[in-house]
Symmetry: C2
Subunit: 436 residues, 2 copies
């Protein structure tokens, strides 16, 4: 196998797998320090995942929530980026193997995030849509619009309505935000586009296995979310599990059956680790077990941060929540700790600073919790938009997203209803290789 | 075969195939008149083709030069849209056949535009890129960026440079504008993205078979275009034909050989007619012969407009140029003529009003000709931008394009350098079915 061609210099080589929130922060913390940084990602861009649902619902361009990695780090002297899929890690010789060659490391950081967890249900995996990548979001957008076009061709009422119906499984932020956005599409946009269809008969179902939506938030917020969703004509099912799906019929554990050609599965995520680690290094969600320095035990000089890491301690028996702030804080601290470690100084343990949570349901409808403060409604909605806008990478992206949001707000519109590449279901679809 | 389900009403049914510049104008001219209008297109959006080259060169989002057809016509009472591929026309029973069913018509208008003409060269067709659709533009963008990523992996100099090199065949507006945009990418953007590559060694070649660029413009403008391109380090080859291409080696008729993994063929277009018309109804460029009312002879109630139509008369022995204004003016007039014809009134012959031509090469570098007036340089560039901006469909698109242009102007940037879906060459690629 050929070697990935990066300069051999007399500095420790830090190899980072994954350009998500954690990996990016880590690279920033190592800017022009006494290390060589090599970042690998299967894409040439960073994805701002919290807004994927707006791409799926025609509110934003895919290009405005993605940012070229090379552009972010163009002024970094000690930085090298390679687009690659990591296929294996051999910690005994400190080398990784990828589709473009092998690479030795002094320190390896696994920041590969999470992927959709179907909990072994092959049927749902085959027919359900995901919402973790830009391409998946575009596929959801295309599928929905294609199904509306096909609904026009069907004179049989069940067949027609199953194409309009939408089931979202999982009442976390992604599920709630997607359901709300679909509710607004149904109320304001689709009736104009499809005057020949009775869009009022379109059903949107949000199905949650637990007793409340937005499990990470208080009951006040999650009750409010249910209230907002009902205003948008979303059917919310709590304590309900989806047990099977064949592409049309959604079966549940409460004998409720729904006909829907559109189903998005956002009911679980799992660690998206690279192959080559020992089996005993994982928790139940396939996250890599790490200590308070994000170090992987028994693997010399390997670290994991963010969604893919489970820092199981006395205070955090299940690890941290799989959210962007944890990844960013871990990336940030690990940069400092690596530099300390190289200099032989003592390192600092990770402590998560929870800055709060939020979710938006629709225009003037959001819930925000910061420490003990809780807001709902229009003010919360503005906080949500502000926080997401300033968190987006790049001024061009911020400007484009702002133009779109203003446009959508004043026109009750979602302008990007394009089927650029039709979604075609791969009949032989298996779990896609997502090692990175 | 099932019938496409549109209401049977007591009005003449006008079926239009193709939502390009001509088809759109025709629908607008028939707004809420005493006809039923059915528009078919293989996409659910209208494409603003003049800016495709900016999508290919990472300057604009694909979504801002495409506009959902249903949105444009949402207030049209007598209008129906269906996403369909037309597979055949049987004029004897006034019926068309599509992938979603058959449809009878009283008047059929073929407005299917043009497609890339490789003049029978199968090798170039197999390995050359096109630039007629949004998907093709995205593929060019992905291929170029993928090749730069791969250039980093190659230590052999010919292999590395062939991945950076770009050949554009055809010196019409598309070729000239694409070459200029690549020149600016080379000068301002790629060196920052790829500090490890010697981007100065990237070669951009524009190859034109005729004696001048921009054949439709005066020598003053085309000489200026050559001068501008040379300033941007584009190699311009006139009186030169590309004779073969195997994916790497570009052969020409002057014994000049170029190594380039990127080749865009913009050297020819041909009518993109639907199957089912008699063979004697076409000109040499496979355009449908029409009379001065855009009527197809021997085919009762069939019309063709725009690029796909060749109105061969004494004054226009080769038909009209294949440009948007011809299509728009023909669509406009045909709407009036159809209504006159239905009422038994006499129709008006088509006369093309040439409002001028223009091409942009780079920042402050454009050529514009209107009647006998000619401008070059910064003023011409502003005219070019203004005309394209106001011609774009939709205020959201105008705003997004303006933000991008301002961003690109002040930052010497092209921000959208994303490989969202990698381009994978289909080894078995044949001429794709482009009946619509």
């Amino acid at each position: 196998m050929q070697t990935i061609d990066v300069p051999e210099i007399n500095l420790p080589r830090v190899v980072i797998i994954g350009g998500g929130f954690g990996g990016m922060q880590l690279v920033k913390g190592l800017k022009n320090k006494e290390v060589q940084v090599v970042l690998l990602d299967r894409n040439n861009y960073h994805t701002f995942q919290p807004l994927l649902y707006q791409v799926a619902t025609a509110g934003l361009e895919p290009d405005s929530i993605a940012f070229p990695i090379r552009k972010i780090f163009k002024e970094y002297q000690n930085f090298h980026f390679r687009m690659a899929n990591v296929e294996n890690v051999d910690h005994t010789i400190k080398t990784i193997y990828t589709n473009i060659g092998s690479l030795s490391y002094d320190y390896l950081i696994i920041a590969t995030g999470s992927k959709t967890n179907f909990f072994g249900n092959d049927q749902i995996m085959k027919y359900g849509m995901r919402l973790k990548t830009v391409v998946q979001a575009l596929d959801v957008r295309s599928l929905m619009l294609q199904n509306f076009e096909k609904a026009l061709l069907s004179s049989e009422i069940n067949s027609r309505e199953s194409r309009m119906n939408f089931v979202i499984v999982g009442g976390g932020p992604t599920g709630v935000e997607l359901a709300g956005a679909l509710g607004e599409l149904k109320n304001h946009v689709l009736p104009n586009d499809y005057p020949e269809l009775d869009v009022r008969r379109m059903q949107i179902h949000l199905i949650e296995a637990g007793p409340k939506l937005l499990a990470g938030l208080s009951s006040i917020s999650s009750d409010k979310a249910v209230e907002y969703l009902k205003k948008l004509n979303v059917n919310v099912w709590l304590n309900t599990r989806v047990t099977d799906y064949d592409g049309t019929v959604v079966k549940t554990n409460i004998n409720k059956t729904i006909l829907a050609k559109n189903l998005v599965w956002s009911a679980g995520v799992m660690g998206n680790a690279v192959p080559g680690l020992k089996e005993n290094q994982f928790d139940r969600a396939h996250r890599i077990l790490v200590n308070e320095y994000n170090e992987v035990a028994e693997h010399d000089s390997i670290f994991a941060i963010g969604d893919v890491a489970a820092m199981v301690t006395k205070d955090t028996p299940k690890g941290h929540p799989m959210v962007a702030p944890v990844a960013m804080q871990q990336g940030n601290l690990l940069a400092k700790n690596l530099l300390k470690r190289i200099k032989g100084k003592s390192q600092q343990k990770f402590v998560y600073h929870d800055k709060g949570s939020m979710a938006t349901i629709g225009r003037n409808k959001a819930v925000v919790e910061v420490a003990k403060l809780k807001w709902q409604g229009a003010f919360a909605w503005f906080i949500w938009m502000f926080v997401h806008l300033i968190s987006l990478v790049g001024y061009r992206n911020k400007a484009i997203v702002l133009v779109n949001w203003l446009w959508n707000y004043f026109n009750y519109d979602r302008g990007i209803r394009l089927i650029i590449r039709p979604f075609v279901r791969d009949k032989n679809k298996k779990e896609p290789v997502e090692t990175l």
